[in-house]
């Protein structure tokens, strides 16, 4: 009887303690999650924004290639199958995150002069109201914005290391070309740029999955 009473007293004592401990544990876990969520939110917002813009440019580049091919007349399909060595390689290089982000940034910066050159060439070949020109304008503008976002993302990850500008001075552009060469050049630039964007998107998704979760 007494034992039973003691047991009851003990039980009565243990019950609020257990509740309190549970509450404290819950609060600790929740605060941890809040901190993690906050960090992830920062990482996610920046990277998510970059990734969305990459997808948008990717989609726009796909549309632009279609529009471009449609505007170049006959043999447009063959134009993009020719190799043009002066166009940058779309592959992202680097071993770690920093190098990859820098590589992305460098490639984007490298393609901007090519896109500008294509725009200039197409200005001579197309009417001012041509959708090709509009598409090129948007892709170029969004590419500049993407480069800026990559830079900001890099700064958010490595605030003490400034991102390096492309080495070797200004991007090499092709010499004066005839119309066919211009058409081929333009299509190759757009096609290569699309591949670059695909690679960037892939890398950013990988970063999103790895980097932001770890943080």
């Amino acid at each position: 009887m007494n034992g039973h009473v003691k047991s009851m007293h003990f039980g009565q004592f243990m019950e609020p303690v257990t509740t309190l401990l549970s509450l404290l544990l819950l609060m600790a876990v929740d605060s941890t999650r809040i901190v993690a969520a906050s960090r992830n939110q920062q990482c996610g917002n920046s990277l998510q924004q970059t990734l969305k813009l990459t997808r948008l440019i990717q989609k726009e580049s796909v549309d632009l290639i279609k529009t471009y091919k449609a505007s170049q007349g006959e043999m447009s399909e063959l134009l993009c199958k020719v190799s043009v060595p002066i166009v940058p390689d779309p592959k992202i290089s680097g071993m770690d995150t920093s190098e990859k982000i820098v590589s992305i940034y460098t490639h984007l910066q490298a393609f901007l002069p090519h896109l500008k050159r294509v725009y200039e060439q197409q200005t001579d070949l197309q009417l001012p109201t041509s959708p090709v020109l509009d598409g090129l304008t948007r892709v170029s503008a969004h590419s500049r914005n993407l480069a800026a976002l990559i830079n900001i993302f890099y700064q958010s990850l490595f605030p003490n290391v400034p991102i390096q500008e492309p080495a070797g001075g200004p991007t090499a552009l092709p010499p004066p070309q005839n119309v066919f060469q211009q058409k081929v050049y333009g299509c190759v630039v757009l096609k290569t740029y699309k591949e670059l964007l695909a690679n960037v998107s892939k890398e950013l998704r990988t970063l999103k999955n790895n980097k932001c979760k770890r943080i």
Binding site: T50, K52, L53, L56, E60, T137, H142, R144, N145, A148
Partner: protein, 871 residues
Amino acid sequence: MESAGQMLMLAALMLTAHAGSQNYLLTFPHPKFVRVGSNFTATCVIINRTEVTADDLYWNLSETILPREHYSKINNSAISVTFTVTSDKPEWLFCLCRNPSPNIVLNQGLYMHGIYLQKGYAVQQPPGNLSCVALQENTYISGTITCEWRDSGPQTEQDPIIYTLHVRDMTQGNYTTTTKTKAQVSLGTYPNHMNLEIWVEAKNSLGMVESEHLKEEANWFVKTNPPSDISVISEKSFPTSLLLNWTLPIDKSYFRLMYRIRFTTEGANTWTDVPQEDTSQDIQSFRLQNLQPGTKYISQVSCKNARRGHGRWSDWSNNATKWTPEAPPRGKPDLWMTILGSPNANGQNVQIACKDPVHSNGRITMFSLMIKAHRVTNASTQLENTTEMISRSGDITVLKQVPIPDHQSTQVFLTAINSVGQSEKAFLGVPERGKERPSVEDLRVSSQDGRLLVEWRLPRSSEVSEFVVEWVGRGQMDWQKENKSTTRTHITGPLEPFVCYRVSVYVLRSGWSSKATSVEAFLKEGAPSEAPSVSLLGVPGHDGAHLVWTQIPPERSRGFISTYTIYYRTGDATRAVTVLGNSSSYKLTSLSPDTTYDTWITASTIAGSYKGSTHSFTTQKYAPGEIEGIVVGVSLGFLFFFLMIVLLCFYKKDVIRENFWPRIPDPGESTIKNWSPDYSLKADLPRESCVSGISVLDVDVCDGRSLFDEEKAGLPLKKDKFLSEEHSSGIGGSSCMSSPRQSVSDSDEGGDMADTTASTVQYSSVVASSGYKGQTPAQPTLFSRSESTQPLLDCEENPDTSAQEGSRQSQRCSRPTGNNLSPQGAALREELQPLDFCSLPEDAENNTPAEHQSAASASSYMPQLGGYRPQ
């Protein structure tokens, strides 16, 4: 320190002013703008003049002299003024001189200087409620951002607030300026997925403030086009469902979209929204459920950025319309019948009508109607089974008009049919006429909140299934059914104002209808649109008139006629009488006789009145019987007067006789016959003084004019008279030459009376001698007087013939004596003959000699004269 600085400024200004200006007064400062509400201080300085001091200066602001208590004298040649700027209009502040010296007066333009004050307000508050939007253009977002904001407070025309809208992202920025509160900024390419910072600067000469900075992702401001190509799919296997499909207005790479969907049935005024949680996902189709089968639905879709708080809802898409598949009708049709006209000897006609079942689940194409009539007397039952679709007016379908004879109850069964199936059977029973159960009590209908409120009290018998509220107006009938516990309800059907509705409430007991309890009501009363024309009942009276009019029927009165006001006017006086609205006649009283009245009537409701046409009538001059009274009165008066005359004549006959019929001496009774032959004429000779020897009976002596009148009356008679009188004058009492004239004067009353009078007055004879005394001086004048009272002539008894037979009468009358003419008489006649020319000197001129001869020869008084026997 402040005054020292002011003095230095003064000195500097004086130097500069002296170099560049001819004015002897100088004011400062000259600010570009002055803030409204601030205190402004201006200073005026006298330059190189001694005849003017600071005491002579004064300030004038917009032609109003500023009070001196605002002045502050700096020294003998400078004065300042401080005042509060109140008006926001630009104005001049002048420093003027009031010294009256001739030099100043002549050079007044040099002794003044002004400051042009342009006003402005400090920017009081930052532009608020900044909101921006970027619209979709083709398949992408336009690079132009449109922003709106609230203004920053008052401003003046001289110093308006300039707003600058700034938009900036990571790589670029742009701005635009405006004086309005709306502006656009173009960024070339819209920076999707980039962060934007947008703000507005408000600036004028007196300050600058900034609005809050909107820092959001660019897609936060996007408003896309609505979803396009909305298609609705109806599937027969799902009659309560429709499937919506649409096309995304913008690619998913810009952002994910969320949607909102709404739908309604055709003709309905309200939309039903699909819950947001069902459409917040990235979808391109949605299935609407729990719809009514066989119903036409209209759907719309809208979209926005799915990210919470981002983007704006697009406009609604175009309507997507589709019918849901039909299903068998659910429930019963709403069956009702209304009595047409009044019951007659053969019974009554009723019209069977119905409404579709609440859930008709499609278009009702047909109604199956069965009427069962049961005659009580022989307990026979007649069945009439028809399937028909008659006419549809709105949601009411008129099925059939059937006569229901007396002593017969009727049962009606009805089912509604659509393309898929049929409804349950509705029943309505009409009991035998005269055996209906009682209806509700204390039925009241009133207008409330633009609707008609119907209230009643439950009948004593509680076996009530439901109530039917029926209303009829402008020939349109409608009804609604209420459950058995209802005692007040609003009429749900569309009602029009100013229309009289007859509202009836029936009680249904197990489907059998009761008697009706009815009242009339208006949803809203208005002033009547017409007024009755007043007319007279019969003929207007002497002081009254009976007016009648026809009451305005409720369907045209636009309200309950509360009163009729009768106006009647004569001249400028108008009087009015007000009677109740149920009156149709009125008797005007206290009217003036023989007066024209204009009368009209105004019909009044609680909302106003309307004046009817004017009718005029004239009251009679005399009251009925008044004329007859006057005639009778006059007649009685005349009769009384006549009787009085008669009585007077009767009682005064002697006097009358003496006056009108004087006693004439009868010659037969005259004593002349007793005269003695020996009577000495000489002794009886009249005195010489009576030259004429005439006894004057009338002063009208020798009146030739009278003679002329007599001639006009009857010349032949006159001739005889003259002749007669000439001769009778010898008989008459007058011996004057006018004695014959006397006889004529006596006959002035007329030809009829002439002889009578002549005969009656010829009671004397005159022997004229003295007038011709000169001719017969030797012969004395003879005069004799007859005392006879007898008429000399019996012709008075026959006056009608006297005129024609005057001559003969004279002869006849004189005949008794003519035959006895003695020689003395003949001699006397010869002496008297000249008398013929005495009294008628003018007559003699008018009469021809032959007539004289005739008259002379026809004289028959000679025998009478012979009565005078020679002396």
